[in-house]
């Protein structure tokens, strides 16, 4: 569309320019022509006015010379001299007809009329224009006068006999016929009119030529006086140049002027055909111009549109376009530049894409590419089972730290080559610094295991370089695609989880097991729910009684967290404690547990059945230097002695832990709290190590206790622990007592406390109180 607009704009610009130039030219030509016509009109009018006067003079001269001939007629002379007016009258009449006079007079030198041929008109006793008589002797005398609303010519000729004896006056009418006759004789304008000011200030038309255009009326209406110079005016909607010309007149006559008109329309008429020809040419030129503009615009915009569509295709990722035909103009150059640009963009994009999708060290696809490939593969082969192997080299971070990236890179390259050698027909990618991903499509579980073993075998060979021999410690996690498992990312995660598991196990090979996956997405929401439960006291503490084997009395209890989740039901602590530790929620949990347990201990204290309450601390709790202070404050609030509380920590929490944990434990011990080591015997702790810690109690792990009644080895281990613990000053508690035999045995070897389902499972606080009361009664 913008290109369409461009073409349209270009064409419109051309055409508009054409039309504008033509119109300007036309306007200019019209104006110039019109001005020339006006100038020509002025010139013609002025010339015509002079010609008109000259023509009038010519006519009057002819009349006068006629009369002069008459004046020499002897008969007339004698008749005049003898006062024979009758003869004079007949001679004058006769002669008047010859010269076209309407009236002839004989007057004497004083202006008295002696003979008048017009007996019908106004009788005249005295000639009304004495200045004409005066002049008549000196020169030929003729003048225009207005008499009785008509214009006429007065020609006055003296009669000599032989001395002046009178004058003959010839009256020739200047009427429409005369003017028309004059026009046919000469090149006078078609518009000639005579006007007289019969009433002062008002001009009346007396006669007009062949065409009556109403010049006098229009000028009289204008009231600006007469146009003594050529004047441009409109007469009845037509344009005229008009000019007034004074005529020879006696003093006493009403003013008479000739009005000459020059019609501009008439003058411009010959140009009308030129205008039509011009307009035709303009239309033709416009058509040709439009066509040309359109063609030119098209020749420019076509390649541009082609370029644009090429760009759109490139935008969509299609680089295989040969955009434009070869041209030798600027657009051709643009096209060539464009082609080069596309080529370099294509190359660059390929490089960038490769970099983005590949690991620079091994040149294998990276995780992103792998995921994409995997997604495709799963989509295509959705129904068939495939195996995803996650191969981890556990020691790589360590190697990087100690020997540097260069060696590590070489090691990874070597590893990738090794894997490729043993795993033909698979897809290999490097998904992280220390991990490879191997995708084997169409692969069932046994085949996957075989493949994994081949990989492990080749990677178990140590990496060798000059003076260098590095074990890779490979582990392989396997995830098998299942129908309905459509996402590569999920599959990858599963394989990773499996690989993580494998890295901890001896076999270095593990399949993904959904049950042991702590990172299932459903776990994530659990933390939110846990925080909510903490806020709303939706958690509960259950207490498992500890039986004093020596006295047979329940004198302690271990507080165990119970969470009755509104949707999931009862959630075991193992399901959320680890996560709470990872997500940093464990301290809140511990705080809540401590507060509840201490409050319960106080309650029991007040009920007269004091119990030592054991609370489990997490390894993370030991990072909190203020923990001892907090606990003692809590006890102070409830006015309980420190001896009421036993704090249980696992071996793992204290072994190899930083100073902070030890300092916290020391502080707790100093304040009189008993500290118990939980799950003793399964970890790597030793008595030698425990000696440095303020421990007061050890709890034997239930794995040694469960078969205690029957297993001789367990009996030996438990007895040894009890003996050794007592000798080192620790109290010893056995967990997981599930039968009478175990209880008896424990009692026989002098173990301090026993705890387990056989005695009682963990109970709500109220139930525990009743249980104690019952056992107490039974014991008593």
């Amino acid at each position: 569309m913008p290109f369409m607009g461009f073409r349209l704009r270009l064409a419109l610009f051309f055409v508009a320019t054409l039309v504008l130039v033509q119109l300007l030219t036309a306007g200019l030509v019209y104006e110039v022509t019109r001005r020339a016509m006006v100038t020509e009109g002025e010139r013609q009018l002025t010339a015509n006015a002079a010609a008109f006067v000259a023509q009038m003079d010519d006519i009057s001269a002819r009349v006068a010379s006629n009369v002069e001939v008459l004046s020499l007629d002897y008969a007339l002379r004698s008749a005049i001299a003898e006062g024979d007016n009758g003869t004079v009258l007949s001679v004058l009449r006769n002669h008047g007809r010859r010269v076209g006079a309407s009236r002839m007079l004989l007057i004497d030198s004083d202006g008295r009329v002696e003979v008048d041929t017009d007996d019908a008109g106004t009788p005249m006793t005295t000639f009304p224009f004495p200045d004409l008589i005066d002049r008549a002797y000196d020169q030929r005398t003729a003048a225009i006068v207005a008499i009785d609303g008509k214009a006429s010519w007065m020609v006055v000729v003296p009669i000599y006999a032989p001395q002046p004896v009178g004058l003959v006056v010839v009256n020739v009418p200047v009427d429409d016929a005369l003017l028309t006759h004059m026009q046919t004789l000469s090149a006078l304008p078609r518009n000639v009119e005579l006007a007289a000011e019969l009433v002062p200030g008002h001009w009346t038309r007396l006669a007009s030529g062949s065409r009556h255009a109403g010049l006098v009326e229009s000028i009289a209406a204008v009231r600006h006086g007469l146009p003594w110079k050529p004047l441009l005016t409109r007469v009845k909607g037509r344009e005229y140049m008009v000019l007034a010309q004074r005529l020879k007149q006696p003093k006493d006559s009403a003013p008479v002027v000739a009005i000459l008109g020059y019609s501009l329309d008439d003058a411009l008429r010959p140009f009308r055909s030129v205008v039509i020809a011009w307009a035709t040419l303009l239309a033709l030129g416009l058509g040709v111009g439009l066509l040309g503009a359109w063609l030119t615009a098209r020749s420019v915009s076509r390649p541009l549109e082609a370029l644009a569509s090429a760009v759109r295709r490139i935008e969509a990722g299609d680089y295989h376009v040969s955009p434009i035909t070869i041209r030798h103009d600027e657009i051709g150059q643009l096209a060539i530049a464009f082609k080069n640009m596309i080529e370099s963009v294509r190359q660059r994009e390929a490089r960038i894409r490769h970099q983005a999708m590949h690991d620079s060290v091994t040149d294998l696809p990276n995780r992103l590419a792998a995921e994409a490939t995997l997604d495709e593969a799963i989509a295509v082969e959705g129904t068939t089972a495939g195996a995803l192997l996650m191969i981890g080299l556990t020691r790589v971070p360590e190697i990087t730290k100690t020997m540097g990236h260069a060696i590590c890179d070489r090691l990874m390259r070597d590893s990738s080559q090794r894997i490729q050698r043993v795993a033909s027909g698979t897809y290999l990618a490097r998904t992280s610094d220390a991990q490879f991903m191997l995708w084997a499509p169409v692969c069932d579980q046994p085949e996957a295991v075989a493949l994994a073993l081949r990989v492990l075998d080749t990677l178990n060979e140590s990496y060798q370089e000059t003076d260098l021999n590095i074990d890779r410690l490979p582990s392989v996690g396997i995830a098998i695609t299942r129908p309905g498992l459509s996402r590569a990312s999920t599959l990858l995660r599963h394989a990773e989880v499996a690989q993580f598991t494998a890295s901890g196990s001896s076999s270095a090979l593990s399949f993904y097991d959904a049950a042991t996956d702590p990172h299932r997405p459903d776990q994530l929401s659990l933390m939110g729910d846990l925080r909510l439960a903490l806020d709303t006291d939706a958690l509960a503490l259950h207490y498992q009684p500890k039986l004093n084997l020596a006295s047979g009395v329940i004198d302690g209890a271990e507080a165990l967290l119970r969470w009755d989740h509104p949707q999931r039901g009862s959630v075991p602590p193992e399901a959320f404690i680890g996560m709470a530790e990872d997500s940093g929620n464990i301290q809140r949990v511990t705080r809540w547990v401590l507060a509840s347990a201490v409050a319960q201990a106080r309650q029991w204290n007040e009920l007269g059945t004091p119990l030592r309450v054991a609370v489990n601390l997490s390894a993370h709790d030991l990072d909190d230097l203020e923990l001892p202070e907090k606990i003692s404050r809590l006890l102070a609030i409830h006015r309980l002695p420190a001896s009421c509380l036993v704090l249980e920590v696992t071996e793992r929490a204290v072994i190899g832990e930083p100073d902070t944990a030890i300092r916290v434990l020391m502080a707790l011990a100093e304040q009189g709290f008993a500290i118990a080591i939980d799950d003793f015997g399964v970890g790597q702790s030793t008595f030698a190590y425990l000696r440095h810690l303020p421990v007061t109690e050890i709890k034997i792990d239930q794995t040694f206790v469960k078969q205690l009644a029957t297993d001789a080895n367990d009996q030996i281990i438990v007895q040894s622990i009890v003996d050794l613990g007592h000798r080192l000053g620790y109290r010893v508690t056995a967990e997981g007592v599930e039968d009478q035999g175990a209880l008896d045995y424990l009692t026989s070897i002098g173990c301090d406390h026993a705890q387990g389902y056989f005695i009682s499972r963990a109970l709500p606080a109220a139930d525990l109180s009743r249980f104690i009361a019952a056992t107490g009664d039974s014991a008593v």
């Binding site: 001269a61 006068a64 010379s65 002897y74 005066d134 002797y137 020169q139 030929r140 000599y160 001395q163």
Partner: protein, 219 residues
């Protein structure tokens, strides 16, 4: 020649009659443009002494010649009783005529022919033309006064030997504008040796003797 004769007669008459008067009047005639005007007739009329009282001179005969289609002279002063004879000195005929009140006549003169003497007995002016040649015109001025003078080419007319007294000087010219009053002036001659100059300016119509150019009218 006739003029000279007339002057001689006049001089003899006055010398015989009584005392010799030396008073002089010079009349200067010019047209509107200041050019001297010839052929103007100045007539003096004395208020103190009637002209009748002086003895009338004997009757004379004057010739008006026609030469080169021109009457010569243009203006001739007569006294009542004088006679005029027209003579044709040309080689063409002339048809002499006059419609004037004092004398009407019309006759044809063959070349070399002279007319009979015509007596002009009443005062007045007779314009005489030729019916064949329109440009020919002469004026016969029959003066009631004895004191007449005609201006010469320089426009000067002279009166010698005037008696002291009051005079009315009238001037006439053939080309005086028709319909206008003849100019006149009163002049007082104080003593016998008085010398006066009188100037007249006349407005004249074109000379009818000049042939008119009909093809180029002057408008």
């Amino acid at each position: 020649m006739f003029k000279f004769g007339w002057l001689c007669t006049f001089w003899l008459a006055s010398w015989c009659a009584g005392p010799v008067f030396a008073a002089q009047l010079v009349v200067q005639v010019a047209d509107a443009q200041g050019h001297p005007v010839s052929d103007a007739v100045i007539t003096l009329a004395s208020e103190s002494t009637p002209t009748e009282s002086s003895p009338s001179p004997p009757s004379r005969t004057y010739y008006i010649d026609q030469k080169n289609e021109t009457f010569i002279p243009y203006v001739q002063v007569f006294r009542p009783g004088d006679k005029v004879i027209f003579r044709n000195s040309d080689t063409t005929r002339h048809q002499v005529y006059s419609f004037s009140k004092i004398r009407k006549f019309e006759f044809v003169l063959r070349p070399g022919q002279s007319s009979p003497a015509m007596e002009l007995d009443s005062t007045g002016i007779a314009a005489v033309g030729c019916n064949i040649h329109d440009d020919m015109v002469t004026y016969l001025f029959v003066s009631p006064s004895a004191d007449n003078a005609i201006s010469d080419r320089e426009g000067t007319a002279r009166f010698d030997h005037l008696r002291p007294g009051r005079y009315t000087a009238k001037i006439w010219h053939p080309q005086l504008h028709p319909g206008r009053v003849e100019p006149s002036r009163v002049v007082n001659i104080a003593g016998s040796s008085d010398s006066r100059v009188l100037s007249f300016t006349l407005s004249l119509i074109p000379n009818p003797r000049d042939s008119t150019d009909h093809d180029h009218p002057l408008y």
